[in-house]
Symmetry: C2
C-alpha cells in the first residue's frame, strides 16, 4: 500500500488546486455550492485513476490534471443531485448542500458542474474524450433510476443488481480510466484494458460497500448499520440471505421488505444473521471475482510505478474496512 499512499499524497494537493481553479471560473452565485461539495473531501479516487492510466501509458506533464479533475466534478454533480433525491441530511459528515443552499441552487449548481466538466474536456480538442464522459453521465443517471425502480423489489436476479451498480457507480470509474488512456494516445487494446480495469474495479467497489453495510463498525462511518435493508435495496448479502430463507420466515421477510416495515429489532436480527451465516464474507468473495478481472486487465500495461499503484488500488478495494 506504501506506493499508493505516496502517490495519492503527491497528487492530491495539485488535484485540489486544480479543482479550486476550475470551479473558481464559475459565477459567484454557483461557486459556494461547488466549493462546499468539493471541500467535503473524498479520496479523489477518480482523478487518481485518470492520472495513473495517462502516466502508465506514457503521457507525462501536468496538463493532465484538469482532465483528471473533470470526473471529480461530474461525480460531485451527481452527489448534489442524489442528495436532493434522497433528501439526505449529511454528505461525508457535513450538511448536504441542499440543506444549506436550497434545492434550487443545488440542482442548478449540479447542472453547472456537469457542464463545467464538459467544458474542461472540450479544451483537450478530442471529441472521444467528450463522448466518453457524456456516455458515463447517461449511464450513471440510468443506473440511479434503475436502482429506485427496483427498491423493495425481490423477484429480480442478481444480474439485475450488477447492471444497476455498473450504472450508478462503475461507469464513472471506468470513464476515469478511459479518459487517461485516450489522453495518452493508447492503442485500442490498451484503452479496452483501461475500461475493463475501471468497470470491474467499480463493480467491486460497490459490492464491498454493500458488504460493509453489515459490518458492526458501519455505525462509525456515520451510516446506520444495514441501511440498505431499511431502504429496501436487495444487495448481494440480502439476496443471499433471502435465498436461504424458507416457509413462514421467508414470507415474513418478503412482506416486511416489500412494505418497508422492519423494526429496529428486525434489522438487528437480520444483520446478525447475515454475519452469522458468513454472507458479508461471501459478498466480499463475489467482489473478489471482479477484482481478479480488474487485476488481469493490468497485464496489458508495461511495468511502471503506476502499474504498481494500480495493483495496490485493487488491494485497497479488496481490503477496505470502512
Amino acid at each position: 500500500m506504501q506506493e499508493l499512499l505516496e502517490y495519492l499524497g503527491a497528487i492530491q494537493p495539485k488535484v485540489n488546486e486544480t479543482l479550486a481553479a476550475e470551479t473558481g471560473t464559475l459565477n459567484t452565485m454557483v461557486q459556494p455550492v461547488a466549493t462546499h461539495v468539493l471541500s467535503a473531501g473524498g479520496k479523489r479516487l477518480r482523478p487518481l485513476l485518470a492520472i495513473l492510466f495517462a502516466r502508465a501509458l506514457g503521457r507525462g506533464g501536468d496538463d493532465i490534471y484538469p482532465l483528471a479533475c473533470s470526473v471529480e466534478l461530474l461525480h460531485s454533480a451527481t452527489l448534489l443531485h442524489d442528495d436532493i433525491i434522497d433528501d439526505a441530511a449529511l454528505r461525508r459528515g457535513l450538511p448536504a448542500a441542499h440543506t444549506l443552499f436550497g434545492s434550487t441552487r443545488t440542482i442548478l449548481a449540479g447542472d453547472a458542474l456537469l457542464a463545467l466538466a464538459n467544458l474542461i474536456v472540450s479544451r483537450y480538442g478530442d471529441t472521444r474524450l467528450t463522448e466518453c464522459i457524456a456516455r458515463a453521465i447517461i449511464e450513471t443517471a440510468t443506473g440511479e433510476i434503475a436502482e429506485i425502480e427496483y427498491l423493495r423489489s425481490t423477484g429480480h436476479p442478481q444480474e439485475t443488481y450488477i447492471e444497476i451498480i455498473k450504472g450508478k457507480t462503475a461507469w464513472m470509474i471506468q470513464a476515469s480510466c478511459q479518459l487517461g488512456a485516450i489522453a495518452a494516445g493508447a492503442t485500442a487494446q490498451q484503452e479496452q484494458a483501461a475500461c475493463d480495469f475501471g468497470m470491474n474495479l467499480g463493480i467491486a467497489f460497490q459490492i464491498v460497500d454493500d458488504a460493509l453495510d453489515f459490518s458492526p463498525s458501519a455505525g462509525e462511518t456515520g451510516k446506520p448499520v444495514a441501511g440498505d435493508l431499511r431502504e429496501g435495496k436487495l444487495t448481494p448479502p440480502l439476496h443471499m440471505y433471502l435465498e436461504r430463507l424458507e416457509g413462514a420466515d421467508r414470507q415474513e421477510f418478503l412482506h416486511k421488505f416489500t412494505t418497508g416495515t422492519f423494526s429496529d429489532a428486525d434489522v438487528d436480527n437480520v444483520a446478525r444473521a447475515v454475519r452469522g451465516q458468513g454472507l458479508d464474507k461471501a459478498t466480499r468473495d463475489l467482489a473478489d471475482t471482479y477484482l481478479k478481472k480488474a487485476a488481469d486487465a493490468l497485464h496489458m500495461l508495461d511495468e511502471s510505478r503506476e502499474k504498481t499503484v494500480l495493483r495496490q488500488t485493487v488491494d485497497y478495494v479488496k481490503n477496505r474496512s470502512r
Copy 2:
C-alpha cells in the same frame, strides 16, 4: 411571415423524427420522461435557428439535424429541472413531468438529456461545438440562480435584469445560432454575427414575454395575468412602473413587492396601471432595440432563403401576441 411558416413546416417533421430517434437510444427507464417533455411541443425555435445559420452559411444536407436537435434536448433538460424548482403543475398545458414521474426520475432524466446532447455534439468531431454548448449550459444555470437571488428585490438597475435574462434565456438561443455557424465552417466574423443575432434575439424574446405577462389575454395562455408581479420578478414593465411611483404609493408597493403580499385586487390594479401608462408598449420598445441589433447582425450574411426567414423570425418575436 409566409417563408418562416413554410420553412418551419418543412423542418419540423424531420426535427421531431430526429428527437425521437435520439431519445430512443436512452434506456427505457429514462425514455418516458424525455418523450413526455418533448411531446409537449414547442415551436422548435432552437433547432430552426441552428439549421438556418448552417444553411445560410453554406452547409447543406440532412446531417445537421442531430446537431440542431441537441439544443432542443438541452432546453428540455432545463425545463425538467426548472419545473421541479418552481414546483410547477403544468408545462405547455400538460402535467409537468415531475408530477407524473416523480422528482427523482425527472432530475435524473434531465441529467441524461444534458449528457445526450453532449454525446450527439461530440459525434461531429469538433470540440468547438462541445465548448459552445457547455458554456451555454453553465450560463443558463447561472442565470436561473441569479433570477432567484433577485426575486422580491427592487434596488438593482435594469442592467442586472438584462444580465439575468441573457443567462436564463438568451445564451441557449445564441448557442443554437453559433452551432449552426461553426458546423458550416463560418469565418470568425460570420460566427460572431450568428452569436450577436442569437443573443439579441434571445434578450428580446424574453422582454416581449415580460410585456405579454401584462396583456389582458395572458390568461388565455394558461398563465395568470401579471404572474411576474406575484412571483416578485422586477421585469421591465414593473421596473418602469416603480420608477414612476412616489410617496406613500411607492412605499406600499415596495412593502408588498418585497414581502410578496399583493392581493388579487392589488395585482389587477397594478396590471391596469401598467397598461394605462403604456408601460407594456414601452417594454416592447425596449425589446425593439435588441431586435434592431439582431437584424443588423444579419448584414454579414449573403442573401438567401434562410436570411429571409431569419429576418421574419425577428418580426415574429416583435409582433407575437401570446
